[in-house]
Amino acid sequence: MNKSLRFLIVLVPIIIFTFFANVLLIEEDEKFSKFNTKNFPLFELNDLNGIPVKYEYLDGIKLVNVWASWCITCLVEHPFLTKLSNANIQIVGLNYKDSNNKASAWLQKHGNPYILSIYDPRGDLAFDLGVTGAPESYLVIDNQVVAHIQGEMTPKKWETIFHPLIKKARNET
């Protein structure tokens, strides 16, 4: 009995650790492939210049990026977004809980990678979209949200999560 008890004392933690390691690794891979595609919510909002944004803007392949002038991480991911924009990726900004003046000043100071920025000071659209904070990025293909990441958009996340989906979509059309 003693021998098997000793064996168990070591074995049980090993099983627990392996289990958690698996959950962690699977979560990383599957969280995105399991993402349930949904329609981009309907909205009636203006862009930062006060021009109403049409829903049709979200046709084709668009990267929707939630940002704000108060958000530090947005500044961190800003150079990468600029790079993407230079590589002909169309990025729609969702200016989140910000003021028009500050947001415009921010874009002027740091450069504007967005084809337009939807102005959402109360976070209405963000709420429908399920935004938890800034920055967050959504991949929208023909008005369908197909992928979502929270936090900074890094080259790694782009290559592993968004880029394959974009390639697939381009091949289909």
Binding site: N2, L5, R6, F7, I9, V10, P13, I14, F17, F19, F20, A21, N22, V23, L24, L25, I26, E27, E28, K34, W70, C71, I72, T73, L75, V76, K97, G123, Q150, G151
Partner: protein
Amino acid sequence: MIGEISHFLSLSAVVILSLILIFNFFFFFAKIHPNQLSLSIRLFNQACWLVFISFAMYVYLAINDDFSIAYIASHSNSQLPIFYKVSSIWSAHEGSMFLWIVFLTAWSIFFINSLDDSHSLKKTTLLMVSLIILGFLLFLLLTSNPFERVLPFGAIEGADINPVLQDPALVIHPPMLYLGYVGFVISFSYITAYLFHGNFELEWEKDIKNWSLVAWIFLTIGITLGSWWAYYELGWGGYWFWDPVENVALMPWLAATAFMHSLYASSKSSVLKTWTMFLGILIFALSLFGAFIVRSGIIDSVHSFANDPQRGLYLLIFSGLITLLALGVFAYRIPSLNASKFVVSGSKESFLSMNNILMVTSIFSIFLGVTYPLIIEAINGEKVSIGPPYYNTIFAPLILITAIFIMASVDSLWQRSKPLKSYVYKTFFPVILTILFTYFVWHITETFSILSYIGIFSGSLILFTYLLRVLNNFFYKKFINKGSAVAHIGLGLLFLAVSLNSILSYEKNLNLAPGESIFVNESIKEFSFDDIKVLKASNHDVISVEVSLLQDGKNIFLNPQKRKYATRGQITTESSIYASILKDTYLTIGDQLENGSWTFALKINYFIKWIWFSASLMVMGMLITIIKKKAT
């Protein structure tokens, strides 16, 4: 610049700790040379001081608003008062991990230097704590670096601390909890060192006893403060939610409580040694597990930090290795530990070992509750959630059994059993009083819920057992373990307060326009909505409501608020509470309806105060135990 120096000091600590480990690894099998140990101790002390100074500099940076440091920029703000600037350090992952390490280092340096240089376990314990500190420092610097700068342009203004965390409780709740968590690194390292050496003649209990008691006190205060904070300040409307993060704090607490009892038994009669060692290892292993759960984001919870699998993986591997190392040595040594005597059934040891079994069962049940949703999700992808009903159902019978064993064990003797008759005689009065009291409660409240009544029965059983015993021993001037009596009376009161709270409390949702007043129930004859104001504060707007109540013949004024914070746009609800000894009247405002009236949530919570009071009794009991030990 100061940020870089602070960063550099932490890095130097890493280098020195690695040096200690490498150096000792090569010479481990050589004979102990006195200089080798004193060199290690010296290096160790220096590494610890480097960590302290590094943290002090970081605090300085936070106070002086260095927003070029990303972490400070995203969690602090120049408008904040100084103590929030400091506490903003532990308001998120990186900084709180830093604080965790500082406490880990503090406990270790105190303990190592309290041991005599000739103590045979000093070196191995030192190596063990060095390894643990090193592992966590590397975790901090590699995966969650709080020193990272935003370059080339620093932020002009910080993003502000989350309004929910702008509360004095933040200043004190996490530090207390961490002090408790990491305090058990001492029993963990020391026991591992002891098992590793295999010199079982050594009297080891006294070396770690008081350290563990103090850590237990911190852990208890930390958990209680968290619960208090959630109730009074955050306005969650309750004191305990069986949230995964509360659960992972409760598991080490239960293990620590079992450990304390077991340590008491093994210091008196050398049985239960195996149990004690196992529990001593388990506490810290569970603390590590808790750190993993909170910081990997594997489970969604109000407390969890941002999800980062990389961090989770590092923590999992590191804490897994440390735990396996300790448990491996333990498993290897079991045969040589088991040589002790058998436990006589009916003796104090036998009841204490029952206590261990019950505590471990509770820990396992909570562990199952925390991991079950993950297991199910891994198997068939379904999301299930496990809530209070699971825990209440599991804990009610466990509490009842515990109460019965506590009652029986009060007058038991070490190593001997007593005749059954004396038990019947001793337990007669408590049982009768308990039955009468339970009937009395039922008579007054006229509500029935089996689980709550099990709680009331168990609570009053423990309470009456100890109260009668205190009275009895007072009149016959017999010895009584004061610390234990106070702590157990606290436990009895806790069970009682929690159960009475669950059957008596109720909630009403009301709907009123300004100037209106209504009849709520027999106790609250009048509820009037007197006034509503919109005010501007420095960093938020306030909707402030004045309500007056005619409750039990008394006039009460309540002033619940809603705040909208400018920087983050977040809305918080400030509840207003009127507290009396028996019950709290708890009011929050909801939303405005289309017809201009407002919704209110009115909660009458019974015996809330008694919960905090009983927790403080437990802490007091433990303090008495420590002080008495020092005195003798």
